[in-house]
């Protein structure tokens, strides 16, 4: 058992460390492990939470007589040894975004920060394909990788107290979408009319870790039609 990969986050959670660097391949391994545990759970398994370079496994210590940490580590070793190689299937999801200035409050600021026109920012933002590493922060909030460094911009000095649901933003080298209205410091460049939460369905979020997404520019009229349809 290679103990250094395991960290007891608490008495009922083990964080498995997959190493320092983040990559799409590593993310696929993390998500594959998560899926294999979920499909074939050990007694006492509660849930697992992926992040950039870790998978955290929550369990109920009541199911173990003593030293549950050690026993769960041994179980996780077995999953890791028997893990099939990255068979994680990615979907491609297209997300319509209206980059109109009435939604993209900070589009101008992002453009001038990078010496670009607003059209160039929009083009660069919708050219790349993004990878959903995991969801967190708020329900359905995707942590995305793959943004063009030419449109990176620092967070707002004074965070907004309320960013509307659907807002698409940039913070440093990251881009993301706010599924629910929340406070935040991201530079807002547009808004999607698509709901990232579908709380009556399983799963309750539109995006899943491992998905690929593309942004597609739509007009304000298309945005309004989408909302009312």
């Amino acid at each position: 058992m290679n103990r250094q990969h395991y960290h007891a986050l608490s008495e009922n959670a083990i964080m498995i460390d997959f190493g320092k660097q983040l990559s799409i391949e590593k993310n696929a391994r993390i998500l594959t492990l998560a899926e294999q545990i979920a499909n074939n759970p050990f007694l006492g398994f509660v849930e697992s939470v992926p992040s950039y370079t870790t998978l955290t496994v929550y369990y109920n210590p009541i199911n173990f007589h003593q030293d549950s940490f050690k026993q769960v580590c041994l179980l996780l070793d077995t999953y890791l040894t028997e893990m099939e190689e990255n068979n994680y299937q990615s979907r491609i999801v297209t997300i319509p975004v209206c980059y109109d200035e009435s939604f993209g409050f900070d589009l101008e600021e992002v453009a001038s920060h990078n010496n670009l026109s607003t059209e160039q920012v929009i083009n660069l933002h919708q050219t790349n394909e993004y990878h959903v590493f995991f969801l967190g922060f708020t329900p359905g909030f995707p942590f995305l990788g793959g943004m063009d460094a030419r449109i990176a911009a620092p967070r707002k000095k004074i965070p907004r107290t309320n960013i509307p649901a659907g807002s698409v933003g940039i913070a440093g080298q990251q881009t993301g979408i706010y599924p629910i209205a929340s406070p935040g410091g991201w530079q807002i460049i547009g808004r999607t009319p698509m709901s990232l939460l579908q709380i009556k369905q399983q799963p309750p979020t539109m995006l899943k870790p491992g998905d690929k997404i593309k942004f597609q520019s739509i007009s304000k009229q298309a945005f309004l039609n989408f909302t009312s349809s």
């Binding site: 986050l9 608490s10 008495e11 210590p61 979020t205």
Partner: protein
């Protein structure tokens, strides 16, 4: 048929043991801040220990019962009265249709729990009745309770008064003056200077008034990093002690986000979460380092204690059933 809020209090929400299975979709676990007191409120009534209850924080509400029922109160002492008559925490209380429970400001601690025998008649959202305030889901319409709300209950029960109660010693942690919160080393424990690690264990910390169900913000000796390093966002849990750039720690509580990007100096051990949740702003406490082995043993002992209290209460209710 239910309980009607006639005076609001400061923050009253419906909570159970939390929403598990959806953290990877970004949903907070939520659930009771003090799950020890919350489970005991249910155990007193022979409910499932994870049945949804009302969590009432800082200032309690006033409630009119719109059916006969049996209730229990645990946790913070909010000077409970039923129809102006003083009643006690920690025992079954029989109330009649039209009776009013009044609660005041907590005398010590923060959170008081009200359980109803048979439970609340509310729908599950993603396997739980816990209110998640930020996402506005679960509990009673995803929000705190306000004047005029009627929370339906499942089973009205008529009963005479009860002459037994749980030992008040079970709730001693709420009024204790000598507060020590034990912790395990966090994953980034080595990121902090030796001096700061020492301060963390010897200096007194207090929670600030900016604290809420998501996190307790601390003030005290600032904690310094050896180098400034960026942490890639990773999982957090109830009791995770994060240190942002300001150096003033934040302890993540029930409504925490599933993931966070601040380095973790420590993790509050499970059996001390109840104590921590009841610490009032400006009340001082100190941290003490524990080990995983000690924390696991304490947690097992606590579980056994809960089971034996459950056995005791179940017996009391069997007697009651026979004598009815």
């Amino acid at each position: 048929m239910g309980i009607r809020i006639i005076e609001e209090g400061l923050l009253t929400t419906v909570q159970d043991l939390g929403r598990f299975g959806y953290q990877s979709s970004g949903f907070s676990v939520s659930g009771a801040m003090d799950s020890w007191a919350m489970q005991l409120a249910n155990i007193i009534l022979d409910n499932d220990k994870g049945e949804a209850v009302l969590e009432m924080s800082f200032i309690g509400p006033s409630i009119t019962f719109e059916a006969d029922m049996i209730i229990s109160l645990t946790g913070a002492d909010m000077s409970p009265k039923i129809n102006e008559k003083v009643v006690k925490n920690g025992k079954p209380l029989s109330v009649k249709n039209g009776d009013t429970l009044t609660l005041r400001t907590a005398k010590s601690g923060i959170h008081c729990y009200l359980a109803i025998k048979g439970g609340l008649d509310l729908p599950n959202f993603l396997n739980s009745k816990s209110t998640s305030l930020r996402a506005q889901v679960g509990g009673f319409h995803g929000r705190k309770l306000v004047v005029g709300d009627i929370i339906p209950i499942l089973t009205p029960i008529q009963a005479a008064s009860f002459n037994w109660s749980l030992s008040p010693f079970l709730f001693d942690y709420i009024s204790s003056n000598d507060l020590t919160i034990r912790f395990l080393e966090g994953r980034q424990y080595d990121w902090f200077t030796n001096q700061s690690k020492q301060h963390f264990e010897t200096e007194a910390y207090q929670t600030t008034t900016q604290s809420d169900r998501m996190g307790y913000r601390l003030k005290g000796m600032p904690i310094h990093f050896i180098h400034s390093k960026e942490l890639l966002t990773e999982a957090t849990t109830f009791g995770t002690i994060q240190v942002p750039a300001s150096g003033q720690p934040i302890i993540l509580m029930a409504d925490r986000q599933p993931t966070g990007g601040y380095p973790k100096i420590g993790q509050v051990i499970n059996v001390d979460l109840a104590t921590l949740s009841q610490v009032r702003p400006s009340q001082s406490f100190t941290f003490l380092k524990s080990t995983l082995k000690e924390a696991q043993t304490l947690m097992n002992t606590r579980q056994q204690q809960l089971s034996s209290l459950q056995t005791f209460c179940t017996l009391k209710w069997k007697e009651w059933d026979r004598c009815k």
